[in-house]
């Protein structure tokens, strides 16, 4: 893993192995999720992968009826909406993610601060072009505990 570039492709590959990996600046210690090749804290390029414990909490969220194709093809629609939100992981950084296990029929019951844990699902991709849209990959999601 130490030689994997700090890219979305590497992150996806690691998700495929059910590993939630972030990057960490070896100079200032800042942990970044999504992973980044240059530290936003100190501009260092001295970066390494670091595994996260998968625990976090909801920072904000929404419930969506008309999603992108990658969600439509999973059966989500106006009658079966899903929750997407921003999760802050225990190690510090925040990431956008689908949030499962929450009451999407009653979004007013979903609370900011709810603890969540990482999980992985497999789906098609995001594009209007079928050659791209039909490529399946493993996605990080979070589940309310």
């Amino acid at each position: 893993m130490s030689d994997m570039p700090f890219t979305a492709t590497s992150f996806d590959k690691l998700c495929g192995e059910k590993k939630l990996m972030a990057t960490r600046c070896k100079d200032c210690g800042k942990v970044e999720l999504p992973p980044r090749p240059i530290c936003t804290g100190c501009n260092s390029q001295n970066i390494e992968w670091t595994e996260l414990n998968g625990k976090g909490k909801i920072v904000s969220f929404t419930v969506i009826g008309v999603g992108p194709w990658t969600m439509i093809s999973e059966g989500y629609d106006r009658n079966n909406p899903y929750c997407s939100g921003i999760v802050e992981v225990e190690e510090g950084p925040r990431i956008s993610t689908q949030i499962m296990g929450v009451d999407v029929a009653n979004p007013e019951n979903i609370k900011v601060g709810t603890p969540v844990t990482a999980d992985f699902v497999e789906r098609g991709s995001f594009s209007l072009v079928p050659e791209v849209a039909n490529v399946r990959k493993t996605y990080l999601v979070f589940k309310a505990s």
Binding site: A8, F61, T62, P68, F126
Partner: protein, 422 residues
């Protein structure tokens, strides 16, 4: 970084637009030609097209919606302006403002004296799902869209945060829509030229005609709370919190300050311009304001040498109602939180309020052809500053200083510009 000035002054001497709405049969270049013809007619002392030296065109989605890349050169061609340099700019919903800013910079550099700049968008070629997806490509495809995010979803997440942090209510947001519909209702070029009351009455009349149960709404808030007629798009945002899907083009004529009076006796001078970039939503320190708006505004205020209190009116980015709430605090007009959230409900941002905002009806009513919207904003301040806004003209106020604020995507680009009538 010290304060920046442009090397040479720039003025807006003309404005044109196509229809904004669902325009079957018209593609991007057709609509751009309509806007260009309208612009030529708007120039008081006349414009010889041969004097135009460059064309900057914003466009977000022609690559997908129309299978046409590099739209600027085809707009230039159809307007019969070949061989002038033509530049296509994609900064999501701020594309036209970035195009116009680069036109301003082009004149300031000494390279050009007369520049055409604006934008165009053809959004109604795909079903809503396709349009939603094309729009979403303006966000971070890899780290936001893969999480299921759409544009309404991203703004809804900011609305949730605003409600959580400041106690903002859905009704605060609805008041923004009501106010903008009040303005749009008297804007003859608006895509949705109706007040919410008029829309309510139309729906009730239609139900009556069809012999269906007539909805018993009494107030606009009754209508806006009706899950059937104002359905949830991305909780907590409903349909009437969102701008429509729009085809359209708009453009401005930019000229060097020293020759502006050759085109019109009442040019509008660009005295401040600012542009900033922002990260994906999850990578920001705040979800209740748009940092790039604050940075771009600071640049524009410093260049113009004025402050928020000096701005008479502003067209701000209201792709969603929550966007206007954040804009009017990010621009310094209202305090973040309750003050900004309740400004519309309290009439402060109405045409006769202390700080009229979106007198055009905003993107919400005028329409939001994403690549063109920034040019449309300048159209409104151009008309207001010249006293040409008709029924929308703000009362009891000399609109000699105005602002446009155009957000790309969910704040990944913001352009703020300040205009002065001397």
């Amino acid at each position: 970084m010290s304060k920046r000035k442009l090397g040479r002054g720039v003025a807006v001497a003309g404005y044109g637009m196509s229809k904004f709405g669902v325009l079957p049969g018209l593609d991007c270049r057709d609509m751009f030609v309509d806007a260009f013809k309208d612009l030529v007619n708007s120039v008081d002392k006349g414009l010889d097209p041969k004097d135009v030296e460059a064309n900057y065109v914003g466009c977000c989605g022609a690559w997908n919606w129309e299978a046409q890349a590099g739209i600027a050169k085809w707009c230039t061609d159809w307007a019969n302006l070949v061989p002038i340099p033509s530049t296509t700019i994609d900064n999501a919903c701020a594309s036209a403002s970035v195009a116009i800013r680069n036109g301003i910079i082009g004149i300031a550099s000494g390279l050009y004296d007369v520049v055409l700049a604006g934008g165009v968008e053809k959004m109604t070629t795909l079903p809503t799902e396709g349009t939603t997806l094309v729009l979403a490509t303006g966000a971070d495809k890899t780290w936001e869209c893969y999480a299921g995010y759409t544009f309404p979803g991203l703004y809804a997440t900011m609305a949730t945060a605003h409600m959580n942090e400041y106690g903002t209510t859905p009704e605060d947001l609805m008041a923004v829509a009501i106010k903008n519909h009040n303005n749009g209702a008297i804007n003859p070029v608006a895509q949705m030229p109706n007040t919410i009351t008029q829309i309510m009455e139309q729906r009730q009349a239609r139900a009556r005609e069809k012999g269906k149960p007539v909805p018993g709404w009494v107030t606009e808030m009754d209508f806006l709370h009706d899950d059937q007629y104002n359905p949830m798009v991305a909780w907590p945002l409903r349909l009437f919190d969102c701008c429509p899907i729009t085809d359209g083009a708009a453009c401005v004529l930019l000229v060097a300050e020293d020759i502006a009076k050759n085109f019109t006796d009442t040019p509008i001078y660009v005295t401040g311009t600012g542009q900033a970039s922002g990260r994906a939503l999850h990578s920001r320190d705040t979800l209740t304001s748009i940092p790039a708006s604050q940075i771009a505004a600071k640049q524009a205020y410093e260049m113009a040498g004025v402050g928020p209190a000096d701005i008479k009116i502003a067209e701000v980015h209201d792709c969603f109602t929550i966007a206007e709430v954040m804009a009017i605090s990010d621009l310094g007009f209202f305090k973040p939180g309750k003050d900004a959230a309740t400004a519309a409900a309290e009439g402060k941002t109405a045409r006769d309020g202390i700080k009229p905002i979106n007198t055009s009806g905003g993107l919400k009513c005028k329409g939001h052809p994403v690549g063109a919207s920034g040019a449309g904003m300048i159209g409104e301040v151009f008309h207001q500053m010249r006293g040409e806004a008709g029924a929308r003209q703000v009362p009891n106020m000399d609109v000699n200083l105005a602002m446009t604020h155009n957000v790309g995507a969910h704040g990944t680009t913001v352009v703020v510009q300040i205009y002065e009538r001397r």
